[in-house]
Symmetry: C2
Subunit: 254 residues, 2 copies
């Protein structure tokens, strides 16, 4: 499994991904799932991946080396084949979608013979040129949605454990580093409840118009800040529920 | 969807269930999913249900009216056909399992013709006679597991949103009404993140050796305690993440 989230606020974008991969419980490994492109010049793009590792790695390679320019005569034709040529983030999301469909065309028959589902998803976030930072989620079919200010985050992988804190704590107006902190708490909730998601965590922060990765960190298990965050959050949750009065139902009701 | 949880502590048992059912997003309704049996004399039993409503209601009816006494010549034969005859909670869980298999036998062929999966699950908790309170989870195949002190809760339905708080806050030694409070917080996290789970909530508390339902409440949307709990919990979470220092990654790092 995997857990990745992207948070889009007015000041920029936070991308967080774990590194746990597993083919069964007895075959667990560590692979980077947060991929950075550019960081100098026009393109500052972070892509987080979930799903079949061979397929997602394939897509990431195609983005750098070149995606087929036309899928079929009936489908979209684009002269953009590499991520560093994309004029906008929308074009980047389209390119990721085309790469997904290219890999899908090659792999699907063999996957079916092995009774494996072709299941991948991507968070595609960043800034290109003077356009505002944008965040997209690309699905297994290559189609995609864009994150908007109403719900300023997107998640892929094992997303449910970490959703309640995002629903409560993040708005489009949140400070960029508050967004990072809440993203790390969301990751912590997931790590705590699902063994399929594991440390280390990769983190990227893109500040609007900075045209570089303001943060590009790998957070290891011994990272003092993340350990402290986990302890403080646990203590705060205990204190929080302790401060709520006893339910009035039952014999003390009257 | 559905969310139900049962929490087993030294002093007794808490059972909580929502009431939302849906056949698609446009066909949402309210059905009781927490069913109480006994409450006087030897049996004090609460059963929470998830899955195909027709199948779970069928099972609940069979428990009161009588389950077939033998499934097939090769399988377990029991002289206990009704829940009020069960000598132990283990026998109750077996009886629920037999009822599930009885309904399954009748329904499966037609379900398959309709391409509907037979998917049900049950939390079966309570106390029979002088035995300690016990909690079981019964699956679609009629097999079941028992809750133990190491992880003193079981969940069915949409369980992931509400799991982090249970993992952090409940132990077998928790006070019975703390367990109820944490169960309600777990329900709140689920309500907040998934529209398929909805108010009102049904709650039962069984205190060890009390041989009655100490709490048998329906919590409606306007319930002042539950509203206060939700507001306090939101405020406490905001305060909790605000109290955690800013991440040291990025430009302020040096």
């Amino acid at each position: 499994m995997t857990y990745c989230c992207g948070i889009l606020v007015a000041d920029g974008l936070v991308m967080i991904a774990d590194t746990r991969t597993n083919a069964g419980l007895d075959d667990i490994s560590t692979f980077r799932k947060l991929h950075l492109f550019g960081g100098e010049g026009r393109h500052t793009i972070a892509i987080a991946t979930a799903g079949n590792l061979s397929a997602t790695q394939n897509v990431i390679n195609l983005l750098a080396e070149g995606v087929d320019s036309n899928e079929s005569p009936a489908q979209e034709h684009s002269s953009v084949n590499r991520i560093d040529e994309a004029p906008t983030m929308y074009a980047v999301a389209q390119l990721v979608g085309r790469a997904v469909r290219q890999v899908r065309r090659v792999d699907t028959d063999a996957y079916e013979q092995e009774s494996v589902a072709f299941r991948v998803s991507f968070l595609v976030g960043g800034q290109v040129g003077i356009e505002r930072p944008r965040l997209f989620m690309v699905y297994s079919a290559g189609n995609f949605i864009e994150c908007t200010a109403d719900a300023p985050y997107l998640q892929i992988g094992e997303h449910k454990y970490g959703k309640p804190i995002l629903d409560r704590a993040v708005t489009f107006k949140s400070d960029l580093y508050d967004a990072l902190k809440i993203g790390l708490i969301s990751m912590d909730s997931t790590l705590k409840s699902n063994l399929g998601v594991g440390l280390p965590i990769d983190v990227a922060v893109i500040r609007r118009d900075a045209h570089k990765f303001e943060v590009d960190e790998r957070i290891e298990a011994y990272d003092p800040y993340f350990r402290d965050l986990r302890e403080r959050w646990s203590a705060a949750l205990r204190a929080a529920h302790a401060s709520i009065p006893r339910p009035p139902y039952g014999p003390d009701k009257a």
